[in-house]
């Protein structure tokens, strides 16, 4: 039966979004990531990485590794552009996470919220590890690796994703 082949199944579950969503949502993630930590209350608990969250979401939904790779690279470089450090640290981290998320999305059913939460948690930890590797090993610069901070950030991303992903699901294009 044609419906059981992998190609047909993948074609069926690929999500498409309007162009405005592809442009505005990543941009909004960058803006909020830069603006929210300034708020008095939120700033003290700014354990989140919205650009990575958006990268993982679109990569999982689109199931296209090239798309995930490029989106992660653009958002990561955008994050680096707002810092004073070298450009490419978060770019590399988000690039790898986007590729892996899309690759996993091909093989795993990602409509389940729990799976998406766990994937988001794992990818956030992975991105922190890659940034640590690039900064500390490749560049030889100091990097404050804080296990508690990284776990809180991963948990924060997972919780935000739990609310954000269903909202973004509503923006996908309907045939």
């Amino acid at each position: 039966m044609a419906v059981l082949t992998s190609d047909y199944r993948r074609e069926l579950e690929i999500r498409r979004y309007p162009l405005a969503v592809y442009v505005l949502v990543p941009l909004l993630a960058l803006v909020l990531q830069a603006w929210l930590p300034r708020l008095p209350v939120v700033g003290r608990f700014a354990y989140f990485d919205l650009p990575l969250l958006v990268t993982v979401y679109f990569a999982l939904g689109r199931r296209n590794p090239i798309h995930g790779t490029l989106l992660g690279a653009v958002l990561g470089i955008g994050q680096d552009g707002l810092t004073q450090g070298a450009i490419g640290i978060w770019g590399i981290a988000n690039t790898i996470c986007g590729f892996l998320a899309a690759s996993i999305g091909i093989r795993v059913v990602v409509e389940n919220h729990t799976i998406r939460m766990m994937l988001t948690f794992g990818f956030t930890l992975l991105a922190g590890g890659i940034a640590f590797f690039v900064t500390r090993i490749l560049l030889g610069l100091s990097y404050d690796w804080n296990w508690l901070g990284e776990i809180l950030k991963a948990a924060g991303n997972a919780v935000i994703g739990l609310g954000l992903y269903p909202l973004l699901d509503r923006t996908q294009a309907r045939d």
């Binding site: 690279a73 810092t83 004073q84 770019g91 901070g149």
Partner: protein, 426 residues
Amino acid sequence: MESFFSRYRNLVVLTLALLVQVLGLALQVRKADAGVSATAQANVTSHDAKPVRLIRLWAASAVTPFERAIHWGTQGAADVWAGYLDLRHTREQNAELQKTIDRLRLEQATLLEDARQGQRLQWLLKFRESYIYQTVPAQVIGSSGSIQSRVVWLDKGKDAGLQPDMAVITPDGIVGKVRTVFDRTAQVLLINDETSGAGVVLETTRVRGILRGNASGQPQVVNLLADNRIQAGEKVLTAGGDQIFPRGLAVGTVEKVIRDTERGSYIDVVLKPAANLDHLDEVLVITQLGEQLSPEQQADVDASEALKGGEVAAAEAERKRAAAEMEERLPSLADPNAPKPAEGSAKPGDAPVAPPVPKPLPAKHADRFTPSGGSQSDAVTERPDAPKAVVATPAKTAGATKAVVPASKAVAGGKPGAKTKPGGVK
């Protein structure tokens, strides 16, 4: 070949994306390594290469307009609330603030004398003092969004006269320095970032050092020799030697002293920053330093001096009035039974007259020591025009022993103002 790329298309794209970024990183680090020290590295990275600068420009151009709009909206709402709705106790606060201003003006005028003396001494010693001559207020509209990078974005840029390496401060203390400037935005590197650097001095112990941030986002004075005098609570000021921050601005207070783990004889002094670096709203960018006070500062000083002059005159009048009242109430030291001096005998220009010296009682048995007896009377001669000062002159006579007549004796033998004559003493 074509089948290889089509088969491994995803991996090829991933490899290319990673390769480009790694090469970009390598080029950036190579440029940064051109500097020798860490400070030099920070300075080098502050002037990005053109492609890097372009990426930062694109990122800033994409993000800061939205941040500006959000900031404008929230600030406007907050202003409406604070300026029109929430005005309880405003009059009382205004009166209290006015009192504080008056008190501070007096304190400023008092301290001004010391400051001017210090300026004169510095001028004599050929020191060059820099004053904050011109500042540009700016709003903080965003951050880097990463705890590894402690920078903020301002809503002013090249259009407002901002340039790289300008100092950024608040009334509480220093904040950082301008790192990258675009037309309408600027990036500020905070003093608690690991790549920042500023020359500081501890206020009491006068220990100088370099301030930079640690991995936890706390500013610290690094690479100091162990010194027991450094205690928590000591204030830290800018030293003025870094050509960015003027001397004497508040940096923070010493929070704790930690030993350098790699070099045991060195310590790091962790500070509590004077400015609230976690919640910055409005900052001042020092766009110009001068050797004199700015017109606004000079006007403020003049107002303080005028206020102090009025206060001093009022205090002096009050003091005189109190003294007059006290003089009336206290009992007089003058003898009420004493004869009044003849009116008109004393002229305003006359010298004060010495009081009369009481004469001793006449001796019952006069001898040669008796002041009025014998030849002593010949030795003491009254001279109406004699000066008040009494001079004891040694008398010299032929074949006589040298003798000195004490002034007291001379005075006792006659009237004040008499002096001995040579040859008058036997």
